[in-house]
Amino acid sequence: MLVYFGYTFCPDVCPTTLNEVADALDHLGPKADRLQPIFITVDPKRDTPAVVKQYTAAFTPRLVGLTGTPEQVAEVAKEYRVYYAEHRTGPGPNDYSMDHSSILYLMGPDGNFIAPIRADETGAEMAADIARFLS
């Protein structure tokens, strides 16, 4: 699994990273069959299952998007030691952006952590990093 935490109201960084993940799958070719990319939102208030589904589909149909209750998201974030926090930008209920850990997590079939993958890499660089663990 390649796990990325982000949010769909993120206009810049998250789409950039997810597009590179999609590119990485292309670069990996048949090896990508063994890699499940997963997007987990850190903004469960706004990111409903329908929103997340539409969002992830725009990058690659292979990307699975996950959301849950705020408690469930907090729990999974804690397990991954992911930091996230609302940054208020105005008085309205939706006037906020999310600060969130930028790293991607490469996880083994047993659910154990294998290696971090940098989010600012190109798809080709990500693919090279991941391929080392897909022997």
Partner: protein, 177 residues
Amino acid sequence: VIATQRVDGKRTRRSMLAALLAAIPARAFAQDGTLRVENAWSRVAAAGRVGVVYLTIVDSGAPDRLTAVASPVSATASLHESFDDHGVAKMRSVATLPVEAGKPVTLAPGGYHIMLTGLKEPLNQGDEFPVTLIFEKAGQVTATVTVRKAGAGMPMGHDVMGGPSMRDMPMQGGPRQ
């Protein structure tokens, strides 16, 4: 002049614009002609969602400052900066962005960008729409934005700095709010 283009005319005028844009990069001139906006592009996004605009500002005159942005396609448009703070991705609004001659300022993925919120219509690949930049001295500069695929990176062949990637390019600019 592209700057006079209206958003509601974009579909009927697309073929004309496409022919024009094939010959020259998207650009517009302020009234004094010293501020130019080049390579304005966006990404596919659904109605009601957030969108993004990236572009390059080239100043050939006096120093100036970008103070506001606007677009008819969204409820709001604002200047933001994304950055990585010790492994945490953050986005903050930017009050002003200084520009000066000889130092093009590029809004690019992972750095400065214009955030559009509350898109009034979907942005589909190949669509074009206007964005207006408001400068302290030069006033308004309107450019035509071309929509590219979801999460698209910097367009190839439009790199004003001549490098292979904007990813490592240092950004110039002012303090964040």
